[in-house]
């Protein structure tokens, strides 16, 4: 068992937990016209974190230039979850007993940097064409050698761990909403296995970017959700603090039979009509009940606005909630935040945690799925004071 003792959020609904919750509770949408070229795409909206000024709002201005947008967002959320960068000293923790687990985004170099390098590599005589020779001479001189490091998915976690001085178990996971729950699962297990005393869990992504928008279009995601950016972070502890009465009772992961090699059909081909999801959610809920959790009265679901995927999810939820004898409301965040990619799973957990804290239920099930068929589910329980 582990306890959520800190939450941080940077979402299209607002910068910071309070602003995001205000946005959520007021019924606001975080979506607006996509500022990037979107002609011909299935969706013209995007979710951008409002008021985010990394150089002013992050603790180390010098480090900001070495960070991708994902890293900047994660650092902001992580610092908020930890109540400041002095968490080790303030809570009198051992740095090597505080872990860091996160899911990060699509790992790409900002397009403007790539194009600048390519521009410098043009043939002088034929300026629309690239010269291999120039790419690796003149062109590469125009490219910040540290830029490739921004593209490693563990760099976002590196910056968060370094800003906070965390030296314990460290794991960065690939880019999927379910990867956020895999990170949560890793942290939860590490606490249970006494590998650490506290653990930061994060998810971050910045999909309002040309590379990713093109990918999401090709993959069919934009038919259901708008591209968005965001990050969420949780500070977990093996023991509760007085102010954070939400515990993680059960976490589970599973693999849906992935679609075979079908070009351009990476997200919608759920081949088993929700059977794997049903099995996973049943196992997680049984573990939660064995752990003393009450029936679920809130669900934040893995709904993408894609008919086949959503049908599998709704079918699975209907089966397990019916079996549990509950008609808990099922929330979907994507219509108001957009699709935050690797940030989405942890964001949904953060939202559910805050809703429980504010009295909107006692027990929540949060589910997440990724493009590779990876699935995650977590049960949160608000402990009575």
């Amino acid at each position: 068992m582990s306890f959520i003792v800190g939450v941080g959020v940077a979402s299209p609904l607002g910068l910071g937990l309070e602003a995001s919750m205000e946005g959520w509770l007021s019924g606001a949408s975080g979506l607006a016209e996509n500022p990037l070229p979107h002609e011909g795409l299935s969706d013209h909206l995007a979710g951008i974190v409002p008021g985010f000024r990394p150089r002013k709002q992050l603790p180390d201005r010098k480090a900001v230039k070495l960070m991708s947008r994902e890293a900047q967002l994660l650092v902001h959320a992580a610092v908020e979850a930890c109540g400041g960068t002095d968490v080790i000293e303030r809570l009198e923790l051992e740095a090597q007993r505080v872990g860091a687990f996160a899911a990060a985004g699509y790992e790409v170099t900002p397009l403007d940097e790539v194009l600048e390098m390519f521009r410098r590599s043009r043939e002088p005589e034929e300026p629309t064409k690239l010269s291999l020779e120039r790419l690796f001479t003149v062109g590469r001189d125009g490219y910040n050698p540290l830029s490739p490091l921004k593209t490693l998915p563990n760099m976002a976690l590196f910056h968060a761990a370094t800003a906070l001085g965390l030296r314990g178990p460290h794991l960065a996971l690939g880019s999927s909403p379910a990867a956020g729950l895999a990170a949560l699962s890793g942290a939860h297990d590490a606490l249970a296995d006494d590998l650490c005393d506290h653990a930061l869990v994060g998810g971050t992504d910045a999909q309002v970017e040309l590379y990713r928008i093109h990918y999401l279009e090709e993959a069919g995601v934009l038919a259901g959700s708008s591209p968005a950016e965001g990050a969420a972070a949780l500070l977990l502890a093996a023991a509760p603090d007085a102010e954070s009465p939400v515990r993680i009772v059960a976490v589970g992961l599973a693999q849906e039979p992935p679609a075979g090699p079908v070009p351009g059909d990476h997200y919608s081909s759920v081949s088993d009509r929700g059977e794997t999801r049903t099995g996973l959610y049943t196992r997680v809920l049984e573990e939660a009940w064995d752990g003393g959790a009450p029936p679920v009265d809130l669900v934040v679901a893995d709904l993408w606005g894609l008919p086949t995927r959503d049908a599998a999810e709704r079918s699975a939820l209907a089966t397990v909630l019916s079996h549990a004898g509950t008609d808990a409301p099922i929330l979907s965040t994507r219509p108001r935040t957009g699709h935050m990619g690797a940030a989405h799973g942890v964001f949904d957990v953060a939202l559910a945690c805050e809703l429980l804290r504010r009295g909107d239920g006692q027990c929540a099930l949060v589910t997440a799925g990724g493009s590779a068929g990876d699935l995650g589910a977590v049960v949160l329980h608000k402990v009575s004071a």
Partner: protein, 432 residues
């Protein structure tokens, strides 16, 4: 947490610059053979570094495995890292008793099998764009993005090998893709260990794959000043712990292991190839590309691994080092070993496989775990090739030049992996 299961290895497979399977790779390592040679896959003549640990020919698959490979390839969804992963996974899976499409003699239901793969993705997209720009010289740069072929995004993602392996082996338990640069597969093995040990699954396929011997990657790492430029003698370029070392050598490959609870393995009569006793992960929280000079970050991982395995420093007989052949890493690792093992560090042997196969990045942790298990099985330590001029700051026993037979068994072994971004992973391995 429920009962703690002992975790054993029942399958191993790899493809490296020294060979297309685990046995050939191990024979090459113990013979002190180098897999580093001039790059032939693309024109590297204008590069500062013109050699790598290159796989010249990927071993052919057969039967249903080849049908599967061809199916993904025909759908434009097979990239090189996934291909290598498939080759290594086949060897490991079949050695454990599995078959294409299912568990076979491994005898576990699909949802009780986990998958944990170390891989990388994004920089390949950049490389793909550059390659596209090079190959399609008539495409205006402004149209480059839209000109990428369908499937490019999906197949270049870090999670793509995970997806393909889950699909081809029908794995339905917990899956994850670990992306911590050079510690990716070390971290993936650690996560798989925890899953099996906690009883979440009975069996897990875990490992890593990487293929950075590409024009853009070689150029990029060269720009960082991280690569050796010893073009005159590629086989001598990677010389970990040597005073004259001048950077690492990029390599490519994949390594996969089948982990299993000992009870499950024994119940089905599987051959036990070794034990994964423990793992430790840490972060340096130091600098983006630098190793901490005092070695404390790596030391935290090694101490955590020993604690996790429930063993003492004195039980360790060998460290398969990360040993990249960069000035900074090798000193930091040496100091880290000393901090973690104390005076016992002077009584153990340390060697680096990267002196012969180069740095396999996301795959190195898994491949080196496999070679370490071969060392333990044969009581033979692979050498650190090209170590001729000792560095006074690297003052351990590095098994220079030639392999060493160890009478009476090696004892426990640590296998280290450290990465950009300060992530560290240490595994504790034992003979069966």
């Amino acid at each position: 947490m429920s009962a703690r299961h002992e975790v054993v290895v029942t399958g191993m497979g790899c493809v490296t610059p020294l060979g297309g399977d685990a046995s050939t790779t191990w024979q090459g390592l113990r013979a002190g053979r180098s897999g580093v040679r001039p790059i032939e896959r693309f024109d590297a003549s204008g590069f500062n570094t013109r050699f790598a640990g290159q796989i010249d020919s990927v071993p052919a698959l057969e039967g249903a495995w080849e049908t599967a490979r061809a199916r993904w390839d025909q759908a434009d969804l097979l990239d090189r890292k996934t291909w290598l992963a498939l080759v290594a996974a086949r060897e490991a899976w079949e050695q454990a008793g599995g078959v294409h499409g299912g568990a076979g003699a491994i005898d576990a239901p699909a949802h009780r099998i986990g998958l944990s793969i170390g891989s990388e993705g994004g920089r390949r997209l950049l490389g793909a764009m550059a390659q596209r720009a090079i190959d399609s010289r008539d495409v205006p740069l402004e149209s480059l993005l839209a000109s990428l072929p369908p499937g490019e995004w999906a197949r270049l993602r870090a999670s793509h090998p995970t997806r393909v392996l889950a699909s081809e082996l029908d794995i339905r338990g917990p899956t994850r893709t670990v992306c911590t640069a050079c510690t990716s597969s070390g971290g993936a093995l650690a996560e798989a260990l925890y899953l099996v040990r906690a009883g979440v699954v009975d069996v897990a396929l875990a490992g890593g794959t990487d293929t950075l011997v590409e024009a853009f990657m070689v150029s990029g790492f060269s720009l960082l000043g991280a690569l050796s430029e010893n073009n005159e003698a590629p086989a001598e370029a990677s010389r970990p712990f040597d005073l004259t070392r001048d950077g690492f050598v990029l390599g490519e490959g994949a390594g996969m292991l089948v982990l299993e609870s000992e009870a499950h393995a024994r119940a089905r009569g599987a051959t036990i190839l070794g034990r994964l006793r423990g793992a430790g992960l840490s972060n340096n929280a130091f600098r983006i590309t630098d190793s901490p000079p005092d070695g404390e970050g790596p030391a935290i991982a090694m101490r955590a691994a020993l604690r996790d395995a429930g063993v003492a420093a004195e039980d360790v007989g060998y460290v398969n080092a990360h040993g990249t052949s960069t000035q900074m890493n090798d000193v930091s690792e040496t100091r880290g070993i000393r901090r973690a093992l104390g005076p016992h560090a002077d009584r153990i042997a340390v060697s680096s496989n990267k002196s012969m196969i180069g740095h396999l990045v996301a795959a190195c942790g898994a491949v080196e775990a496999i070679t370490t298990l071969h060392s333990l099985r044969d009581s033979v330590l692979a050498p650190t090739l090209n170590l001729r001029t000792p560095d006074p700051e690297c003052d351990l026993d590095y098994v220079p030049g030639v392999a060493r037979e160890v009478s009476g068994g090696v004892g426990l072994a640590l296998s280290n992996a450290f990465g950009f971004g300060g992530s560290n992973a240490t595994l504790v391995l034992e003979a069966p």
